[in-house]
């Protein structure tokens, strides 16, 4: 059993018609997982016994015919806390951490009868773009196991691309859902800031973090966002706006839609083969009756610097909680309390996490605050103004998700700045709090290339509508890696 030939709609029909029981589906999922994941290492922890028990109970209760996610196996990124299921954020700091509560999104999964298969690998504390920063294992790209799956939600992306699960959830602070979705040829949505509750998401950059779904098709993605969206009393930044049905309006009709293509997203810093894929996508949108015009986001080039100041500053504050006292790793043979703090943090965090904490602490420190943190916050405003100006005249923005296809494992990990530049096209979206989605748009040298769609605040629906029209007119989403499933 893999999920290459079935989407949520067809799986749901099989479950409702009892062609397939939830228990059979869960068993088959774990059988496939054990074979396939031996090659790509996308999962950190499995939830097998509980998943099978849940599936059995669900079969006894009956599948709700109105809930397309009932009985569906799901992967959850390991920075989203799951009650009684070890949650590590891929850090030695949390190697043995067992949460006492569920993230709100996890509660919604279980209340809606989804079957949690396990926790997916990631860059430690979501800091990185390759999943090489995991303290435990390096996930491989199922299209070419010598290449990275991207990150930080690399485990979730690889698991979906390899047909292990039809849906996985990730988190995106600067591109961590979209870039791995691009690298793996799947659909990944970073919703508007505030669309989804962050309660139970292990905090990285609190003004940037959002949880979102990763799937093989646009429609599946819309259904998976329906599940987790909405206000939550536990997250004061979650919006009270009404949540539309994101699967409505998927009719393939985008005639007259006004699409903007920022020239900065097609400049010489972008791999020419990636640009070719995007140019072909532009033609496809035009053939579907949309207009595509060049625009400018002049401050987007400063996004990487502004982001690494802001995100690192927020991270340095958020990660102060890891002190070796109440939970998490505590160093041995310590002399006094100060020693517990310093040695536990120095031994428990990996290098990239330390780099971000150092950058953040520096940017916030006396004498540097104005030149760095304050300045970055002003540049953030200019980046938002650029987007607002474009959205006065256009319905959405398109461009590449990442400057290149997936790179080789080991190629960039020793050079932080090169790694940071992977996020150049995704970061501005987080800084502005906008929704952004990556969808499969073609291939470069056999590796998937993603198209990024950026929308107005709280207008995920337009992204899904445009993405669905593109998907129905192309067959990139039907391509699957040879390694996965029953190939």
């Amino acid at each position: 059993m893999d999920f290459f030939n079935q989407d949520l709609t067809s799986l749901h029909a099989d479950l409702v018609n009892k062609k397939l029981s939830a228990e059979e589906l869960t068993k088959a999922t774990f059988e496939n997982l054990k074979q396939t994941d031996a090659k790509i290492d996308s999962f950190l922890n499995l939830n097998e016994d509980a998943a099978l028990a849940t599936a059995k109970a669900l079969d006894a209760k009956g599948i709700n015919a109105d809930n397309v996610l009932a009985g569906i196996p799901v992967g959850v990124k390991d920075n989203i806390v799951t009650k009684d299921l070890t949650t590590t954020a891929a850090s030695k700091m949390l190697e043995n951490f067992v949460p006492v509560y569920n993230a709100t999104v996890v509660d919604k999964m279980t209340q809606n009868d989804m079957i949690i298969v396990g926790k997916t690998n990631m860059d430690e504390f979501a800091m990185g773009g390759s999943t090489e920063n995991s303290a435990f294992k390096v996930t491989k790209n199922p299209w070419d196991v010598s290449r990275v799956p991207g990150g930080s939600s690399g485990g979730s992306a690889a698991a979906v691309a390899a047909g292990i699960v039809p849906v996985a959830y990730g988190s995106d602070t600067g591109g961590s859902i979209r870039q791995p979705s691009s690298f793996n040829g799947i659909v990944g949505m970073k919703p508007t800031y505030g669309r989804v509750s962050r309660w139970g998401l292990i905090a990285f950059g609190s003004s940037l973090d959002q949880i979102g779904p990763m799937t093989r098709t646009v429609k599946d993605n819309a259904a998976a966002l329906n599940l987790i969206a909405g206000n939550d009393v536990h997250d004061g930044t979650s919006s009270e706006r009404e949540v539309p049905d994101f699967t409505a309006g998927l009719d393939g009709d985008i005639k007259g839609m006004k699409i903007a293509l920022p020239k900065e997203y097609m400049d010489e810093g972008i791999d020419p083969k990636v640009r070719e894929v995007i140019k072909a996508a532009v033609k496809q949108f035009e053939a579907l009756g949309a207009t595509v015009e060049e625009v400018s986001l002049p401050h987007s080039r400063y996004g990487v610097s502004a982001y690494y100041i802001i995100a690192s500053s927020e991270a340095s504050s958020n990660l102060q909680r890891f002190d070796g006292i109440r939970y998490g790793f505590r160093a041995q043979d310590v002399k006094n309390l100060e020693d517990v703090y310093v040695r536990s943090r120095s031994e428990g965090f990996g290098d990239e996490v330390k780099r971000r904490i150092m950058l953040g602490t520096f940017s916030l420190s006396a004498g540097y605050y104005d030149a760095y943190f304050h300045k970055a916050g002003q540049v953030r405003t200019l980046i938002i103004n650029d987007f607002n100006k474009v959205f006065e005249d256009y319905d959405l923005i398109i461009g590449p998700t990442a400057p290149t296809p997936a790179f080789k494992i080991g190629d960039e990990i020793s050079d932080p700045i090169t790694m940071y530049m992977n996020d150049v096209l995704t970061i501005p979206v987080n800084l502005a709090g906008l929704p952004g989605m990556s969808i499969p748009a073609g291939f470069a040298d056999g590796m998937p290339v993603g198209l990024q769609l950026i929308g107005k605040s709280f207008d995920e629906s337009t992204l899904y509508k445009a993405g669905y029209a593109f998907e129905q007119a192309t067959d990139f989403h039907q391509a699957t890696p040879d390694l996965g499933g029953q190939h």
Partner: protein, 104 residues
């Protein structure tokens, strides 16, 4: 901004603020990397931001108020199970001041 963006001494100071410690080798590596990254940050000084307000949040909400309702939680055992060291239902930590010789 100064020509030398950050030196090993400053990095060691920032590390102490962040409750991290580095070996001399690590300090050298981190200083070199931070020097480069902070060098990249300096491109921001070329952006005209006179009179531009700071954005520090992008939520559409201002104050999020709710009724102050007490909720009973019965998680003491589960919470303590995550603590590195406990004694008598409490979290145990070493002495704040170094007590030389006798260990605790």
């Amino acid at each position: 901004m100064a020509e030398e963006r950050i030196n090993a001494e400053q990095v060691a100071h920032v590390a102490s603020l962040a409750k991290l410690e580095f070996t001399p080798d690590q300090l050298g590596t981190f200083t070199g990397q931070l020097e480069k990254i902070i060098g990249m940050f300096e491109e921001l000084s070329t952006v005209d931001t006179d009179g531009v307000p700071v954005t520090s949040r992008v939520t559409d909400r201002h104050n999020a108020l709710r009724e102050d309702v007490a909720v009973k939680s019965d998680e003491r055992a589960a919470l303590l199970a995550n603590a590195p060291e406990t004694a008598n239902g409490l979290i145990k930590v070493p002495a704040i001041i170094d007590e030389s010789g006798d260990g605790e």
